[in-house]
């Protein structure tokens, strides 16, 4: 086994920013281990020149599986493509960023290959000639140094753990390959898609975000959040759980599948603070958490936490900020 394969995800015809960051980190790791790094891209109607540009982010070769079966963004056909790439490439490590698709695809690949899998990796180190990851645990209070005993190791990195640069403008040779698809991998069919509408205020630009989660109780709970955000001259953000439940629009969602935000002030109201939310807002300047559960993980990474009833605290906060005008 030799070399590092990086699954690079295509979103809206372009390589996902998260994948570029992982590819660059893999290139640093590959240099330290003396292993070449190859980018694996799965999709349909992919452009060779655009894929070759991954050479500018550290890939020595770009291997492209271009097939209608890979157009839907469903993970299982991607497992087949990665397994085909592994058959010819015999890679020692597989890396991918933690999108929903990539995480599912790496899980399937690890099971298919009997490979050890580490998820939520936040650092990649070369130690003793092998990859040793740092995997965050226990609410990010500890970093476990995880390595592999299997011939192939699979790593899913935490979203946003590795920021991408603009690249060096280089390019790499593109090689196309044809995956062998399994029947069960093609059994899940995409029957509909609603694009996330991008209406409403741009939460990425707001200096203050007041965010609501399931702790608000219901959709009506957002009225107090909106008032508070307006008092601060800021915008409203929401967690995946409340967006999925239909309480607030997708365009306001912060987290792994939503936006990544870095406001000066982030006030989390009724948000427990699961890792999928944290990765979207941990770069905020000051983090405030209001939650009735004193054990909520959000208190582990807030600067100022209030254990109490947000129904009384938030309106009072709004009045105090309004009074300061």
């Amino acid at each position: 086994m030799a070399g590092i394969a990086v699954l690079c995800e295509v979103q809206g015809g372009e390589i996902a920013k998260g994948s570029l960051g992982v590819l660059e980190e893999a290139a640093r790791l590959g240099a330290a281990l003396g292993e070449p790094v190859e980018a694996i891209v799965c999709g349909s109607g992919l452009d060779d020149a655009a894929m070759g540009a991954l050479g500018g982010f550290g890939a020595s070769k770009v291997r492209v599986a271009d097939d209608a079966a890979l157009a839907s963004g469903i993970a299982q056909p991607v497992v087949d493509a990665c397994a085909s790439a592994q058959e010819s490439g015999q890679y020692r490590y597989w890396l991918a960023g933690a999108s929903i698709m990539s995480a599912d695809a790496m899980a399937g690949l690890a099971a298919r290959l009997g490979a050890g899998i580490v998820i939520d990796a936040v650092e990649l180190h070369a130690e003793g000639g092998a990859l040793v990851t740092r995997r965050s645990g226990l609410g990010d209070s500890v970093l476990a140094h995880c390595g592999f005993t299997t011939p192939v190791g699979v790593v899913v990195t935490r979203s946003n753990a590795f920021a991408a640069t603009e690249g060096n403008g280089g390019s790499a040779p593109v090689e196309r390959f044809s995956p062998t698809f399994k029947a069960y991998s093609q059994a899940v069919q995409l029957v509909g898609h609603e694009d996330a509408e991008d209406s409403g205020p741009d939460i990425g630009a707001a200096e203050v975000l007041v965010a609501g989660g399931r702790g608000l109780g219901d959709a009506a709970g957002f009225a107090a959040i909106e008032e508070c955000a307006s008092a601060f001259g800021g915008a409203v953000a929401a967690t995946r759980a409340v967006v999925d439940a239909g309480w607030y629009p997708y365009s306001a969602q912060v987290g792994q599948t939503g936006k990544t935000v870095t406001p000066k002030l982030y006030i989390a109201c009724g948000i427990s603070g699961a890792i999928q939310h944290k990765v979207g807002m941990q770069g905020s300047g000051t983090i405030v958490a209001i939650n009735k559960d004193k054990n909520a993980p959000i208190f582990d990474y807030a600067d100022f936490g209030i254990v109490g009833d947000l129904n009384t605290i938030v309106p009072k906060l709004t009045e105090l900020i309004k009074a300061r005008g």
Binding site: A107, A111, I117, L138, V156, R240
Partner: protein, 261 residues
């Protein structure tokens, strides 16, 4: 219709978290509880039974020490008809793949039409078990279901992805992990809690399932934990309990930090 729900016992979030310095494993002594994410999968199964598949038989499947039977009973109280509990000392120290191998062996034996999981485990925040188990069983897999509809031997699932919402369809048998937004799990009434112990419990060893003990547990783990270190923290956290003055204290803090003028 046969529905299986894979559940996990996790340390109670209110208990102190620690890792054993000798073994680098999570210490699971003290109060344990049913993984809260799994309650959404159980509720989803109960709603299927109350709706399109009144004949559904719901089996709770878990891997864990014998003491995990309390969480199995908790899951049964919420809506299971019977349980399959793989309790074997050789399973201790299993990594993700090892746990998936044991679950897959137990699931294969049950010929289930629908295999449900919660979206992640609350202790390890692991979100890949559905993908691992589905691949080992060679079954279609859908994760992060925000809704499930069952009709004509197929499930239709709405799920959030990076670009919006996908609606996908898969024929049964298949594996589905559910989002914690899919439903609000109901608390079981007292008679259901009392009755859970009397439901059929099957406790199995690895040998019963034909699982080679060298492929699971600490011995068969594909990943190693070689050491632990402290991440860089955000610095000091101030946490206060609201005594009526919390909003005033927060504003004072924000003024001091010059976050508001």
């Amino acid at each position: 219709m046969r529905i299986a729900i894979c559940v996990k016992e996790v340390p109670d979030p209110t208990a102190e978290k620690r890792i054993d310095a000798g073994t680098n494993r999570l210490v699971r002594s003290g109060e344990n509880t049913l993984n809260p994410y799994d309650r959404h999968a159980i509720e989803a199964a109960v709603q299927i039974k109350e709706g399109p598949a009144p004949d559904a038989e719901i089996t709770i499947v878990t891997v864990g020490p014998e003491s995990a039977n309390r969480s199995v009973d908790r899951a049964l109280a919420q809506g299971g008809d019977q349980s399959v509990h793989i309790a074997d000392e050789a399973a201790a120290g299993s990594d993700l793949l090892g746990t998936a191998r044991i679950l897959a062996a137990a699931l294969k034996r049950g010929n289930y039409d629908l295999i449900l999981l919660g979206q992640q485990a609350a202790d390890s925040e692991s979100y890949v078990m559905a993908g691992l188990v589905a691949e080992l069983l060679e079954l279609p897999c859908v994760t992060q279901a925000a809704s499930i509809e069952l009709a004509d031997g197929a499930v239709t699932v709405k799920r959030q992805v990076e670009t919006g919402y996908d609606t996908v369809k898969a024929a049964t048998p298949c594996v589905v992990s559910v989002s914690d937004a899919i439903n609000d799990p109901r608390y079981p009434p007292l008679p259901a809690i009392m009755g859970a112990k009397r439901k059929p419990h099957e406790v199995l060893s690895l040998a019963d399932l034909g699982v080679d003990a060298s492929t699971v547990g600490a011995a068969g783990a594909g990943t190693t934990v070689g050491g632990l270190s402290k991440p860089e923290g955000r610095g000091d956290t101030i946490v206060i309990e609201d005594d009526g003055s919390a909003a005033d204290q927060l504003v004072a803090f924000l003024l001091e930090k010059k976050v508001v003028a």
